[in-house]
């Protein structure tokens, strides 16, 4: 029974695994082109298992910026996990021990969360382990492949691969912006602020990590005040 649950998790995680391989390949290329070693890139992927946060962290690590900037960038960019974990916690089996909860927490990524939430209300630890294991392997091996490739490929190819990760992020964001005017406005505010921090005198002295944090938080705060979402009795967001 428990073995079957683990197997089902592995199978359900396979699609995520394939997607992760390609995204983490791009991360691997990005990391070594910023000056990290192959081992460092793989270590980051194995311990963090998150795309946007890792992407933001690489320039901060490589330019020798402060640890506070690094911690804050992760706090803001990954703050969504706080809410996804809060939501997942209600779906986990009541039989799950604290140790099992500690282990499952590590793998609560956007995609694993999405698949887990679509699989019932009493999720068992064995199922979650399987569902986390395959994407974890895809993420790690993809990073390794990308980092190695980034080191041996000619410069012109690495330059082209440099946009891959931004292409993927665009593919994630644009459909959401297209669907809702308030989302589009939110993105616009964040981008305008981000550009101010990049190009305006005085403001452009701020390290890049802080620029992302301040721009994103400000945009989300403005939109949360100006266009709050509708919340159902159960506390779910409804459009």
């Amino acid at each position: 029974m428990q073995k079957n649950l683990f197997k089902k998790g592995i199978t359900d995680g396979l699609a995520i695994c394939i997607g992760y391989f390609s995204v983490s390949f791009a991360f691997g290329v990005f990391a070594v082109s910023n000056g990290l070693s192959v081992v460092e890139a793989v270590l980051i992927s194995m311990t963090n298992l998150t795309s946007a946060g890792q992407l933001a962290a690489v320039p901060i690590i490589c330019t020798g910026s402060g640890l506070i900037e690094l911690a804050l960038s992760q706090l803001v960019i990954n703050s969504r996990y706080l809410f996804m974990s809060a939501s997942l916690s209600q779906r986990l089996s009541s039989k799950m021990t604290v140790i099992q909860r500690l282990m499952v927490s590590f793998g609560n990524t956007d995609e694993i969360f999405a698949v887990a939430m679509s699989n019932g209300t009493q999720l068992e630890a064995q199922y979650m382990y399987g569902l986390i294991l395959t994407p974890f392997l895809g993420w790690t091996i993809g990073t390794l492949a990308g980092a190695v490739a980034g080191n041996i490929l000619p410069g012109i190819i690495v330059s082209a691969l440099g946009v891959a990760i931004y292409g993927m992020l665009t593919a994630v964001v644009l459909p959401q912006i297209k669907k809702s005017k308030s989302m589009a406005l939110c993105a616009l505010i964040a981008i305008v602020l981000g550009c101010c921090f990049e190009y305006m005198p005085y403001l452009n002295g701020l390290p890049g990590g802080f620029a992302v944090i301040i721009s994103a938080v400000a945009a989300a705060l403005v939109m949360a005040a100006a266009a709050p979402v509708n919340v159902s009795e159960e506390g779910d967001i409804c459009d």
Binding site: Q74, M84, A86, S105, A171, A216
Partner: protein
Amino acid sequence: MISTRFLICLVVMAGVTYLLRMLPIVVLRQKIKNRFILSFLHYIPVAVLSVMIVPSVFYASDSLISALVGFAAALILSFFEKSLIQVACAACAAVLVTEIIIRYI
């Protein structure tokens, strides 16, 4: 050789990310009902990702022109909701072709 500074950075980023995922699962068992917090949460992913793309994408390749062409390709394919891999490959290909044109023609 892995530096001490890198290891400290690794512990900091992995620690923050893990705590964010772990604390609600282990500690909190109640649903958040505050409308403002839920709204903030609703907007933060798009805000973060948008500002991570622009302006950084302009410096993602060897030249501004090829980066702009690559980004334009990504925007067009994303608008038509192509898959992540298709969009990424198209952006890379657009950059490569532009770089070849700039360098050799």
